[in-house]
Amino acid sequence: MANLATEFVGIRSPNPFWLASAPPTDKEYNVVRAFRAGWGGVVWKTLGAEGPPIVNVNGPRYGVVWGPDRRVLGLNNIELITDRPLEVNLREIKQVKRDWPDRAMVVSLMVPCDEESWKAILKRVEETEADAVELNFGCPHGMSERGMGSAVGQVPEYIEMVTRWCKMHTRMPVLVKLTPNITDIRYPARAAKRGGADAVSLINTISSITSVNLDTMSPEPSIDGKGTHGGYCGPAVKPIALNMVAEIARDPETAGLPISGIGGITTWRDAAEFLALGAGTVQVCTAAMTYGFRIVQEMIAGLSDWMDAKGYSSVAEVTGRAVPNVTDWQYLNLNYVTKARIDQQLCIKCGRCYAACEDTSHQAIWMKPGRVFEVNDAECVACNLCVDVCPVEGCITMERLPAGAVDARTGRVVSGDYANWTTHPNNPMARAAE
């Protein structure tokens, strides 16, 4: 069986599955139950500075997007950082780390943007013997209006500054948690690196309104008839998170910076994809909040079985495997010519491929008598939309034309050589590059 044990910026955990900083990690009771269920580590629910505890709303804090069978596809929240006294949290963290020494214990922090505040809290956390801290520069609501959370995370200079303070005032590894509410994730990641971050974790939640109640005209979740934007997470955000992780992994300035991947991870496969794009560990919130802690058993078994089947013996071997294959558009091989192929045996004659191609693509599917659908190679641009909308897995596939074949659409012979946009004759920049 594959060994799932990980060492991430010096933090050891029996598997790469950590619970992200959120309600599941808000107290000893939860975290102990999570560890019993098998979670490799936790990032404790974000602590704030000493003083009167944070106040949450007393109405609903979640909005949701459901599938037809009420499967949770996306969740949004307007919760703030922990609302329990700092003292209590620190005492519990210390106790749990002592009782569960083999699990990763990372403490998430968010305090006002001045050096003294950070220095003070770091000292307190060190006393708990936690493994590391995670700087929460992410929350898009509530704290950001007070100059914390994503208000810091959206300004690379602040990220760098705060990270540097933290590295100065603690011996613990520092993870910087990034907000996705920016235009280019590489800038905050670079800033974190410049500030000396040991790792970045991403993504935090995405600013969102999940729905509007059309009777009361209030956004959901509605607090006495009013709503506010919250942070979106869950399966719906995974594609956004994957891209951001990959961008950081392949950016020459941040390449090699350890990443803890977060965002919509629900099964072992999601986790494996984050690992392949450069994550060393993964963090989970919504899936645990939806199904409970037991889901980690599926994740552990699934990842382990898959690694066995592929012959990977450690998580580190998986980390970053797909990164070399993430490239820029202009380097994609323009001589890779494919055509859609419809398997008539599998076809159930729904005609969705036809509607999609005829109405919105390239009019490359014929509908013949008897509801027989066939691809017209002379029109097919290989966009793959038909494959995406076909309800039958494997019914429509994209087949590569071999070198030497003629592409019926262009009339050109397919070349076996690699050629991309940078050298394409239609590219006005191509000659300049020579």
């Binding site: 037809p68 159930i348 004659k349 729904c350 005609g351 509607a355 509908m367 039958v392």
Partner: protein, 445 residues
């Protein structure tokens, strides 16, 4: 001693009182909101969907299901009702397994079609529960149309004509409107007085007057109707029944299945409806199955359907045959009745096995007898009381195009007219299409 399934003879109250509600309640309970959402999500929104082509009224099924998905069941109902004003009844009684759901691509792919019928019921129930009639009548045209027969064909025709602003009078021989919706369809398919509720709802369009207890040929003459109205539509169904032509048919306890069903449908307290202990049903169509199943549900001990040809030739679909079997009805195929034996009241029926030969069906010398204290004949209904002067095609009124008969100004549709299956939904389609044709004619001249 109260009666039980074992009590000999034709007696009421074979079952405990509470069994009747259970047996004659909704065969398929309606979907709730969540079930409807899940069922609707299975629809692929096919291009040029095969289910639409398979629906005689051509309801835009993918569209109405999408409206349910989008949380707009009343909009879905409008989509349904604009094609089929009896969409509520059809949702309950259509043999969807041989219509829309048979054509569903998911039936082909997985043997599990989208549950179109139940979704249709979900949508139409939602709208009717709010008492909304979603159509508005056009300005009165001053034209008057007589519709004979208040079954599905007549009602659909009347509604469409009224919608276009014509003034419609519907005549029906029976005391209540609805045709076989009220007097024929199995009770468990249309529980809760739905047939009358639907007629009342349909009449909200305005411009329709119903006169019950008026029979063409007895109280009305076609000539008078042609004179007094601008057009006439005949939707008189099949009022006659075929005779068995077997010895002893006049024994007590031998009865037409449709009469039995009509009586059942009009009996408020089914524990008072007498039923035999050993019931034999002769025939192989929907009527045979409905009579047999309901006899069983009333508490008969043994119910047997005997059909002269093979299973595949039965008018009742495989699905309905299964339903009968699941209710405990025995089905014997390939046997025809020779004689009914009894001394005053029926005691036994003698059958001969049949053979399919080059000259058609032949009786063999192999015979058997079934014990019977009640026999239902369900060997087909026939056209009866057709006014003179109408050309027939086979045993039905000949029509051309959308229901035009051989007499000018007279249209026909539904079971009484040639062409199409004898189904509620087909009757609706024919009534609707005839109305459109009548409308075109009336407005042209």
């Amino acid at each position: 001693m109260p009666n039980s399934p074992l009590t000999p003879g034709i007696v009421p109250g074979r079952l405990p009182a509470e069994a009747y509600d259970r047996n004659f309640g909704d065969l398929y309970p309606p979907f709730d909101r969540h079930e409807a959402a899940v069922a609707a999500d299975r629809c692929y929104f096919c291009h040029d969907a095969p289910c639409v082509a398979a629906c005689p009224t051509a309801i835009d099924i993918p569209l109405f299901i999408r409206q349910i998905q989008a949380g707009n069941p009343e909009g879905a109902a409008k989509t349904i009702l604009s094609q089929n004003i009896l969409g509520g009844m059809c949702a309950r009684v259509c043999p969807t397994e041989t219509l829309c759901e048979e054509a569903c691509v998911r039936e082909a792919a997985e043997g599990q079609p989208v549950e179109i019928g139940r979704l249709q019921r979900y949508a139409t129930d939602a709208l009717m529960a709010r008492g909304i009639h979603p159509f508005t009548r056009a300005a009165p045209t001053g034209r008057r149309v007589a519709v004979v027969g208040a079954g599905p064909a007549g009602l659909a025709c009347a509604h469409r004509l009224a919608l276009h602003g014509h003034e419609v009078t519907v005549f029906d021989a029976r005391p209540k409107p609805g045709g076989l919706n009220e007097y024929g369809i199995a009770a468990y398919k249309t529980a809760g007085g739905f047939a009358q509720a639907e007629v009342e709802w349909l009449l909200k369009i305005g411009g329709i007057r119903i006169e019950t207890g008026k029979a063409l040929g007895r109280d009305l003459a076609l000539e008078d109707l042609r004179r007094d109205f601008d057009a006439v539509f005949l939707g008189i169904g099949l009022a006659g029944v075929n005779a068995l032509a077997a010895e002893g048919e006049d024994c007590a306890g031998v009865r037409d299945a449709v009469d039995f069903i009509a009586e059942l449908r009009q009996t408020a307290d089914l524990s008072r409806l007498p039923i035999g202990r050993d019931v034999v049903v002769i025939g192989g169509g929907m009527t045979a199955v409905d009579a047999a199943v309901q006899a069983k549900l009333l508490g008969a001990e043994n119910v047997t359907i005997v059909y002269r040809r093979g299973r595949a030739a039965m008018g009742a679909s495989a699905y309905e045959q299964e339903h009968a079997a699941a209710t405990g009805v025995r089905i014997i195929t390939g046997a025809a009745p020779l004689r009914i034996i009894g001394n005053g009241a029926v005691r036994e029926v003698e059958f001969a096995y049949t053979e399919e030969g080059p000259e058609g069906l032949r009786l063999t010398a192999d015979t058997f007898r079934l014990k019977a204290d009640q026999v239902f004949k369900a060997i087909g209904q026939t056209l009866a009381g057709v006014p003179e002067g109408l050309k027939l095609a086979g045993r039905k009124i000949a029509v051309e195009g959308p229901g035009r008969t051989s007499l000018p100004g007279v249209w026909a549709g539904g079971d009484c007219a040639a062409g199409g299956d004898d189904l509620t939904v087909t009757a609706v389609a024919e009534g609707r299409d005839a109305a459109e044709d009548i409308h075109r004619k009336l407005m042209a001249g």
